[in-house]
Amino acid sequence: MKINLMTTLIILLFSSVIGITFNFFSSNGIPLLRQIQTVEFAEELIIIDVNEEMNQNELTGAASPEILPTEERVDVKPVEEVKADETSTKEDISSEKKDNEIKNLPPPFSEPKAVTLEQAKTLYNQKTTFIDARDRGEYLMGHIKAAINIPYYGFEEFEYQLDFIPLNKPIVIYCSGTDCDLSVMLGNKLFKLGYSYIYIFFGGWNNWVENNLPVNGGIDG
């Protein structure tokens, strides 16, 4: 086994220099030194008036996705309507802005915000939508009661559930616990899709269960 270490070093250095040069000129380039990204904790919670939401749902015939069986959820919105929605996303966002003004909602977050267990409990009691970002298997083994499942991996398959969540509605996203990053990644994704009030519950499933809060276990809960 005769290995030329100088050749190895040259390959290493040459490819690194190409990489740095390419990154410098690339439109997808990133800074050489990474800044620490932190998610700030929310000081005040955005809470939608539950009674108002329920009245609106009664008027429009819409229902919360959590209480609908999967098959019904798929059938609620015709394909044509979904396609129309896709083409008019910008209009939707502007109309959401108008809604914000009408409902006197605070300005949209500049980024997703973290919430503590206590804040998550408050949001839960106000029937805020909880999204479980873990994979389907983990969700089926147990999840926060009434939470819907939109796994970060396999997002496209479960994305349809977002059709039932208005852009100006607060959302709490969680995953396993402080060591998982799925909630942050899904939060960033939804934020880019136009959701204005994204909360990340870092304590996640583990923290929720430790405190004996309401959960669903098994496929049907």
Binding site: N4, L5, I11, N23, L32, R34, C175, D179, M185
Partner: protein, 151 residues
């Protein structure tokens, strides 16, 4: 055993497999450096400041080593580099499993993202096995170095 492992066709196959995996993985990471940086950061093994440097350079080392393996130039040296990277990947995945991290392995950038787990350990260990064989025996068959020797 040595005869089987040093079979020129098997070594060529090993070269092609390693090259294909590393060129594909490297290209995916080059396309989306930020995504790869996030994946590295999630392992929480590197200082935050060093994450982007790794995300910028590592994919190019992968592609360079993969191309050299494919064309059969500096095979042992390329295999050494690939083995070094694989050892780091295996260690990172192992530590993450031990710490119970539920994160994207970042193995192929954003393409077909999958979580760290024992399957990833097995995949990387298999590649490391191929890399070690190539590092020991080299591979001249259908290679630029082989052609040079013939001439």
């Amino acid at each position: 055993m040595v005869k089987i492992l040093s079979n020129k066709f098997l070594l060529l196959l090993g070269r092609i497999i390693l090259a294909a995996v590393f060129i594909f993985a490297g290209m995916e990471k080059i396309i989306n450096p930020e995504g790869f940086a996030v994946s590295i950061d999630n392992y929480k093994l590197l200082p935050t400041a060093a994450v982007n440097i790794a995300a910028i350079t590592l994919p190019w080392i992968e592609v360079a080593a993969g191309l050299l393996l494919l064309f059969g130039t500096a095979v042992k040296e390329s295999a050494l580099l690939i083995n070094g990277m694989l050892v780091v990947f295996i260690a990172a995945i192992g530590i993450s499993i031990a710490r119970g991290l539920n994160i994207d392995c970042g193995c192929f950038g954003t393409a077909g993202g999958s979580q760290v787990g024992f399957l990833k350990l097995l995949e990387n260990s298999s590649l490391l096995f191929i890399g070690i064989i190539l590092m020991f025996f080299g591979s001249d068959y259908l290679s630029i170095e082989g052609k040079k020797k013939e001439n």
